[in-house]
Every structure is written in C-alpha cells, then in structure tokens.
C-alpha cells in the first residue's frame, strides 16, 4: 500500500536508530500520547532499538480512560428492554462495577457492535419503535464522526436516536501529566490523528509554557523513530518546539470542516478520566440544542456506586508511572480473556499490547 510500506522499511528504520544513538549524549524520557503509537512501539520493539531513550506510555487509549461510571451507565441503559445499545466492539468487554456489556448481551439485552456511529443512525432509522443508544467515546479523532451522527439524527428528526457521550481531549491531559509532582517526561510524541482533526496550535502553547518538545508523529515504525529523533535533537539543543513529522496527513490548522462540526454539536466541559481523575476542560458534552439526542438526559440513571478491581494498577500505567509488566496480576489473574482493567481490554491499551507481543514478566 502506498504511503504505508515505505514507513515499515527496515533499512530506513536502522539508519534512524543509528542517528538517534549518535544524537543522544544522555538518557531522555519521552511519552507517546496515543494508544495506537504505544501499540506500534511494542509491536515492533522500537523501545528496545533505542536504549538511550525511555519511552513512557501515555493515557491515549480511549476505551481505557472512559470512566467506570460511564460503563455502569451504559450497562443500565443497555439493560432496558426498549433499547438497542450500539457500541464499538472493544467497549463490550470493559469490566464495569456490575459486569461488562458482552455478558449483558448473553443475558438477552440487545447490544450490537457497529463499525461507525453512522451505522447506529441507520439502526435508528430502521427501528423507529425502539430507542437506539450509541456509546460515543474517544479522543478528538472520533469526535467529528460522533458529532456528525448526532447532527444527522437531528436533521432527520430521529428522536429515537441518542448518544451516551464520554469524549476526552488530549492537550489538557498533557498539561495534567506535566503538572503532576514527580513528572519525568521531558518530551512528547504528539498524537498524529488527533492533530489531523485539531491541528497543533494548542500544542505550540503547551511546548512554550512547559518547555517541552512535542513532535507530532505518525504510527508506522519509521514515523515513530523519526519522531523520537526529532525530539532527541530538540532536547540535546535545548529547544522546546512543535515539529510536524506527520505532514503528509497533518496540517497546522487541522481539518476546518471537522472542527466547525465539533463546535456546532459539542461544548467543552470538565471530564473524569478512568485511572487519572478529573481534568478541567478535558472533554465534550452535547450542546443544549441537541439535548434530545443526549442519552444521559433521556435516561435518568441513578449514580451507581462504582468498584474497581483492587488488584488493577491501570491508573498508574495510564499516567506513565508503572509499566504493565510491573503489575503482579499481569498475565496471571489478568489477561485479555479475563481482564481486570480496561488497559487489558482495548487493542490500544498498554497491557493488551504487552500481553499480545509477549512482554510477560519483562521489564
């Protein structure tokens, strides 16, 4: 595939690792923010190719940071007999306080996996006698598609379509990591697909305010190695700027129609992140004008007392303070078959990536 195979070229990757080794005069700590990047790094063993750089995995797995309360709300709504509950596949196995959505389906609930939120709108069109609720989660990358689904349902007056929204934003999370006491992260690989939507002006403000280099990077091994090289060169030179490694996809201003769509349908609000806690102005909610499609307003769900597994350390992993292999339950009580926490469920979760690529009991 064009624009893809080149970025998996072994010879280019090898010369990049040599350049990184030559550029680094001391160890540096970088964080990759996006779960897709974490997955690629572990899959190709990139962290082992660049021993002078410690790669810390960030909170960039959308499924993992969706708060437990939201999973429990989803569970309560999906239990209703008048509801068709639609979701991306990897949300179904995330453990809530009262079990996961997949088990609920096995007990007779109408829970369906869709590829796109627009498929959930199609369901609402076909089943006018049922309430169709879509679990809209994710980062900025997914937000325009969810906004579009709400707008489409609104235009077609599909009042049986609503969304349980739990959307989060990357820049406030980066700020929260940098403000945390004991932070070790010195530079970031910026999330390429988030920036494809939002652009990277906000990241320029972060780089300047906290004096950290941020290199907006792609997802293939060559992209990531090049991102690491640029970040190391900045650190060595004492620079703290935003560089765009992923210019074939990302423009500084992002995608203007997508950003307009987000402004139309969503407001920015404080959000709670699973494992991390509340972060100010770190997510979206559905604007008042579209409240008829807001599942939280439509289905009054009493707050359920939430309960996390006492063994799971996913909060520390999401903040980059621990690695999956540091967890005593990793690969023992906790595996993708029987996950204790969300980081083991999602394909973008750090624990699932370590498990899948055989990093068991390895530091």
């Amino acid at each position: 595939v064009k624009y893809l195979d080149e970025y998996r070229d072994g010879a280019v990757a090898e010369s990049l690792t040599r350049e990184i080794a030559a550029a680094a005069t001391r160890p540096w700590v970088l964080m990759e923010v996006c779960g897709g990047q974490t997955h690629s790094i572990v899959r190709y063993g990139l962290d082992r190719l660049v021993p002078s750089v410690e790669l810390v995995h960030g909170p960039g797995c959308p499924v993992c940071v969706t708060p437990l309360e939201m999973i429990d709300r989803a569970h309560a709504i999906a239990s209703r007999s008048d509801v068709i509950f639609a979701s991306f596949g990897d949300m179904l196995r995330v453990p809530g306080s009262r079990g996961d959505l997949l088990r609920l389906r096995s007990q007779g609930a109408d829970v369906r996996v869709v590829y796109s939120p627009l498929d959930a709108v199609t369901l609402a069109r076909r089943h006018r006698d049922r309430e169709v609720v879509f679990f809209g989660i994710g980062f900025e990358t997914t937000a325009p598609a969810n906004a579009m689904a709400i707008l489409q349902a609104h235009k077609e007056r599909l009042d049986n379509f609503s969304m349980l929204l739990s959307h989060v934003l990357v820049p406030p999370a980066i700020a929260s990591i940098l403000q945390a006491p004991g932070n070790r992260v010195q530079g970031f690989l910026g999330p390429g697909h988030v920036c494809a939507i939002m652009g990277f002006r906000e990241y320029e403000a972060l780089a300047a305010r906290y004096r950290v280099p941020i290199v907006v990077s792609g997802f293939e091994p060559v992209d990531l190695l090049q991102g690491i090289l640029y970040a190391v060169r900045q650190l060595e030179a004492g620079r703290a700027e935003v560089e765009n490694q992923y210019a074939r996809t990302v423009a500084r201003e992002g995608n203007a129609p997508a950003r307009a769509l987000l402004r139309e349908v969503f407001d920015v609000v404080d959000r709670k992140w699973r494992g991390v806690g509340a972060i100010p102005k770190s997510g979206f909610r559905i604007r008042h004008e579209y409240r008829a499609h807001d599942a939280e307003r439509k289905f009054a769900v009493d707050d359920i007392e939430t309960r996390e597994s006492p063994l799971c350390i996913s909060g520390l992993i999401l903040r980059g303070l621990k690695r999956p292999s540091d967890c005593p339950a990793f690969g023992r009580q906790c595996s993708p078959e029987t996950p204790l926490g969300a980081t083991m469920v999602s394909s973008e979760g750090a624990c699932a990536a370590y498990f899948q690529y055989g990093r068991r009991g390895v530091a």
Partner: protein, 63 residues
C-alpha cells in the same frame, strides 16, 4: 473507499475536496484527512537522506 480489497461507504462531509484516486485516512467510517502527496514525497526525500541512501529505492510518487 477501497481498503485493500474491501469497499465501504465513508462520510466525506469533512473532506469536501477529495476526488476519486485520492488516498484518505478513514476513522470509524469518516474520512478525517487526505494524504498530501507532495508532503509525502518531501518527507520521503528527507528520510532517504538519512544514512544509507543508496540501499533504499525511492517510491514512485505521482504529483
């Protein structure tokens, strides 16, 4: 949009300038970005400049 053998309808609302033959980045049924061929060619030129240029065949890029 064709993805290595699979064809699916995607929403182009946010890529109004996309035309047949373009490469687009699709996420959950939604085209979020168009791959810029000139930038792709330029980035590849930078990469092939690093180290062993001779061993790497430069891909053909239409522009």
């Amino acid at each position: 949009v064709r993805f290595g053998g699979i064809t699916r309808d995607v929403c182009l609302e946010c890529q109004p300038d996309a035309v047949v033959g373009d490469f687009v980045l699709v996420h959950v049924g939604f085209a979020i970005a168009r791959i810029d061929r000139q930038e792709a060619a330029r980035a590849w030129a930078v990469l092939t400049d690093i180290g062993q240029t001779d061993e790497i065949a430069t891909p053909e890029v239409e522009s």
